[in-house]
Symmetry: C2
Subunit: 113 residues, 2 copies
């Protein structure tokens, strides 16, 4: 596995990180975690912003593949996509692995030189 290949894969994670990088959105994710699938109105209760703002954040999370929704009667119910979370975790594992490998190479350089 070349560094450039794994780097290209890592860069794909940027939109996901960006989606998680907002306190309001992280709060929504957390609530969907602890309370399960919820409608927009339910998610707006307790969130200190308008329903429309909540919808915007949910769409941002959806674009990143972190949540998905389904219309149910006159409600739209949102829930998490845990798979995507696991993918992000694997991205971070990749960073750690690359870092460990870099440390090894540096050590070898010192020893060889």
């Amino acid at each position: 596995m070349r560094a450039s290949a794994s780097q290209a894969r890592l860069i794909e994670a940027a939109p996901v990180f960006a989606a998680l990088g907002d306190p309001a959105r992280l709060t929504l994710v957390s609530r969907l975690c602890s309370e399960g699938p919820l409608s927009i109105v339910r998610l707006t209760e307790g969130a200190q912003m308008s329903r429309q703002a909540v919808t915007k954040h949910l769409n941002a999370l959806s674009d990143a593949g972190l949540v998905h929704s389904e219309r149910s009667g006159r409600e739209r119910v949102w829930q998490l996509r845990p798979r995507r979370i696991d993918e992000v975790r694997r991205y971070l594992d990749q960073i750690s692995l690359q870092w460990d490998a870099a440390l090894d190479r540096l050590r070898d350089l010192v020893e060889d030189g």
Copy 2:
């Protein structure tokens, strides 16, 4: 562990995710991973932006605790803080755990009801 407590901890991760949520910054992180500590000029080579822009991104990563720097002669050398990466990974573990717990609760509700 109450949900509100773990949620509060999760929200603290937002700035770290935001720092990783930019392709340019993820590229810098990746390069520091694969090439080890680098000066600003070295990091600017290959990055398609000015040295000052690179510095801004490095400062953003630094604010999030993901990198740190040290002056060495007339250079400033930047390197990763792998500990912070591990912390973020633990945040994601927390999301997954909460999600699994939520699924269990939902299943119990169905069975009990």
